[in-house]
Amino acid sequence: MTGVGALLGKLAGAVSPKATVWQIDPAKCLRCGKCADHCVLEQSAVKCVHAYAICGYCDLCTGYFGPEPTELNTAAENQYCPTAAIQRRFVEDPYYQYAIDETLCIGCAKCVDGCNRYGNGSLFLQVRHDRCVNCNECSIARVCPGDAFVRVPVEQPYLIKTTPTTS
């Protein structure tokens, strides 16, 4: 009986009334692309998010354009994104804004990789909580090569990048 009491005491010590949700730590993300197809949802709950504050608004955006684009325009053959989920919009010379259409984004991290390799790293992946069903064991976390999935408190469910990638 004391054993049961001790176990219950231990449980009471470990229990937390704060609900948590899954999130990707952008510092650990290796942009492998597994988020696109390991989510239990048909359309992955992981989407690309744009931290505009650290974006360079480049004309030649290395997240938007594939290697050696024929022209810097919105033609499909020039784009990295397989679903054309990034909207390129002219702001003022020579700056362009890049916005993610989440209904199209599949979380494949191609743009994230391009942006982090050669740019500021303002594009990064996040679990979107309007979609995530918050599985007990996240099935993407299981296969994540960077071990980047963490549980975060539900009041602050996003890890938005504020400092650019520099290496």
């Binding site: 231990k10 229990v15 505009y52 480049c58 003022e92 740019g119 007990n136």
Partner: protein, 429 residues
Amino acid sequence: MRRFLNILLGFLLLGSTALAEQRFPPPDFESGYKIPAPTTPFARAEFLQYLDMAALLAALGVSLWLVYRSRSRRGIAALSLCSLAYFGFYRKGCVCAIGSVQNVALAMFDSHYALPLTALVFFLAPLVVALFAGRAFCAAVCPQGAIQDLVLLKPIKVPAWLEHALGLIPSLFLGAGVIFAATGSGFIICRYDPMVPFFRFNGSSLMLGVGAAFLLVGMFVGRPYCRFLCPYGALLRMATAASQWRVRVTPDTCTQCALCQHSCPFGALREPVPAAKSESLRGARKRLTVLLLLLPVWIGLGALGGSKLATAASMVNPTVKLAERYVRSLSGGEKEPLEIQRAEKNPEPVVASALDIRKRFELCGWLFGGWAGLVLGAKFIALSTRRKRSDFEPDPGACYACARCFETCPSERIRRGLMPVELEPTNKE
């Protein structure tokens, strides 16, 4: 052009540490452009977790009332449909009592893991109910049970030997699930839950196939997952051994008419057993002594076998697997995958924690093997003991309190006024 040069410069400087803090500084817009903030759609509101807990407790209460007070099969069926809708299709099967076992196990052994209150309540509430009043949770609260109950068409009787043999699996699955959770290797009970893909209308083809197979079999064999796989069911079954209130076919006297005999689709209804004769009792006593003496042997053999499995089982743990692959990559194995590159950057902690986890697995191997031996030995003992039973009544461990048998009982039908009193068998003569 300036931007292009910047990019070139960026390429050239790649890899050098003396890079400016930002490759492309944010522009100073002159057109009055406001830099937008990224959208952050809300997660499910925190108070809703209390709604889940309240729904669970309310459903348990209603289920108890339906089983013991109103004794209504129709009510149980209606409640199980509600549970299926809420815990199954609305909550997508996540936060469930079956999986909560693993959260609790992980919280016991990993001091860094914060156990969600919801998981603890989902783990404890049905267990406490089972401790006092049987498996009212399985009756109408568990969505996994509800969906199987729903597809049951024409139940066939599973042969006793098969029932007993397959009935060992839940306890073993429970042991494995607890060990993999406690070592932080993953939640295999969630991973191999065959019903959740249906609640989500989505899942791996393997689990969808397994789930479909369970539902197909479930049309003829009542609740196959509950009976032959559910690890939480194994826990509840153990808890019911102490339960005070038991489901009875009729609260009135049993007239031994045997009409309820075939009403249980789950093989939980037990026939009356007359008291044993004294000579057969002596033989039984001897057999029981032998089996009790054999119990430590089973446990020992199991532990020995389990310890042999430990190394193989530890490969389920992602850290151990990574360390293993990393070590292999040192001697000319694959180097390409990203996770190995991550391990290469800082190999010591990965290898150290892998060794630590493997050591824990060695202990767990012994424990799991011993548990398997205990389960087997206890089964033999349970099979060889016979308890005198005067009435037809459900075995509290196996009974899901579905209330199907109630309506087959003539005493119950008379009590409900469904049958005229003069037809009561005892009044016939």
